[in-house]
Symmetry: C2
Subunit: 147 residues, 2 copies
DNA sequence: TTGCTTGCAAAAGGTTTGCATTAAG
DNA sequence: CTTAATGCAAACCTTTTGCAAGCAA
C-alpha cells in the first residue's frame, strides 16, 4: 500500500475512528486525485469502479476527514459546490473565475500565519486555507480569441 | 456621506452598474458592520430599519459587489452559510470551529501572494482570500471550564 | 457483544431563477 | 425611451438527517 495512505489511515485510527472499507476507498481516492473533487464526483467515480458505497457515506467520511485536518474543503463560488483536497503538504489554491478550475501552488510561505494569527486574534489555530482568484491560462486564451 | 462609501459608490458606477437606493443601503451596511453578515442578516436588519428591500435584491447586489472585488465572500463550514465582508484593506479571517465567530487579522503580509501565484500558476490574479481556523478565546474558556 | 457506521430515502434550507413591474440613465 | 434592476414566489440542488440493518473492535 502506498506510504501516504498508510500514514493517513494511521491518523484516522489515532483520532479514534473505526476503519471501514468505504473510508479506505475515499482516503485512497483523495490521495491519488489532484482534481479537487466534490462529494458527488467521488461518489460517481467509486461507483464506476464497481465499489459499493452510498452518497451519504461519502459525505459522512469527508466530514470526519475534515475534522482530522487530513482533508481540506474548498467552497467554490464558481459552481456552488464544496471541493475536497487531501492536504499532504502546505499549499494554496488558485480558482479560475471563468471555468472554476482549481490548481495548487506552493511557492508561498504560510508557515508564520498560524503564529501570527494566534498572537493577533487569540484564537487557538488548528488550520488554514488560502485561495487566489483569477483567470486560468486556458481561459485567458479563450477570452482573448473572442475579441 | 462617509468617505469610504463615496469611494465604493464610485467603483460601482465605474464598473458600469446603475446606482439604486438598495445598492447604496447594502454597501453602506457592509462598510459599517464588521460582523461578516450573511445575506439573510443584511435583509433582516435593513427591513427593521423600515427599508423596503427584497431578499433577492440583497443576493443580486452581493453577487454584483463580489464581481467588483469591493466585497469578499467567506463560506463558513460552521453554519453552512455564506458571509460577506467589505474588503477595504488587506486582511485575513479567523473562524472559530466551535461557535463560528469570524474576526479579522491584518498582521500578515499577503502582498506578494498575487505575484507569486501569477508566476507559479499562470493565472491572471484578481483577488485572494485567506482563512485560519481554530478556537476563539471565549470558546477556549468555555471548553476549559467544562472539564 | 457494543455502539459506531452504512445506506436509503426523505427533508432541509440557503441560493437561484422567471417574470412582470419599476426606475435609473 | 431603453434597458437594467427590483420584488415576489416558486424551484433548485447540494447537503443533512432519521432510522433500521450491518460490521469493526
Amino acid at each position: 500500500m502506498a506510504e501516504e495512505l498508510e500514514h493517513a489511515l494511521q491518523q484516522v485510527k489515532a483520532a479514534g475512528y473505526k476503519m471501514t472499507p468505504q473510508r479506505k476507498l475515499i482516503l485512497d481516492y483523495l490521495i491519488n486525485h489532484e482534481t479537487h473533487p466534490t462529494a458527488e464526483m467521488i461518489y460517481q467515480d467509486l461507483q464506476q469502479q464497481d465499489e459499493q458505497i452510498s452518497l451519504a457515506t461519502v459525505y459522512n467520511t469527508l466530514e470526519m476527514l475534515l475534522g482530522t485536518q487530513l482533508v481540506l474543503a474548498i467552497d467554490s463560488d464558481q459552481d456552488g459546490k464544496r471541493h475536497y483536497d487531501y492536504f499532504g503538504h502546505p499549499h494554496y489554491h488558485a480558482i479560475c473565475t471563468n471555468c472554476g478550475r482549481i490548481v495548487d501552488g506552493e511557492n508561498f510561505d504560510f508557515s508564520q500565519l498560524p503564529n501570527t494569527a494566534a498572537n493577533e486574534t487569540g484564537y487557538l489555530i488548528t488550520g488554514y486555507e488560502a485561495t487566489v482568484k483569477g483567470l486560468c491560462p486556458e481561459c485567458q486564451r479563450k477570452l482573448e480569441n473572442q475579441k
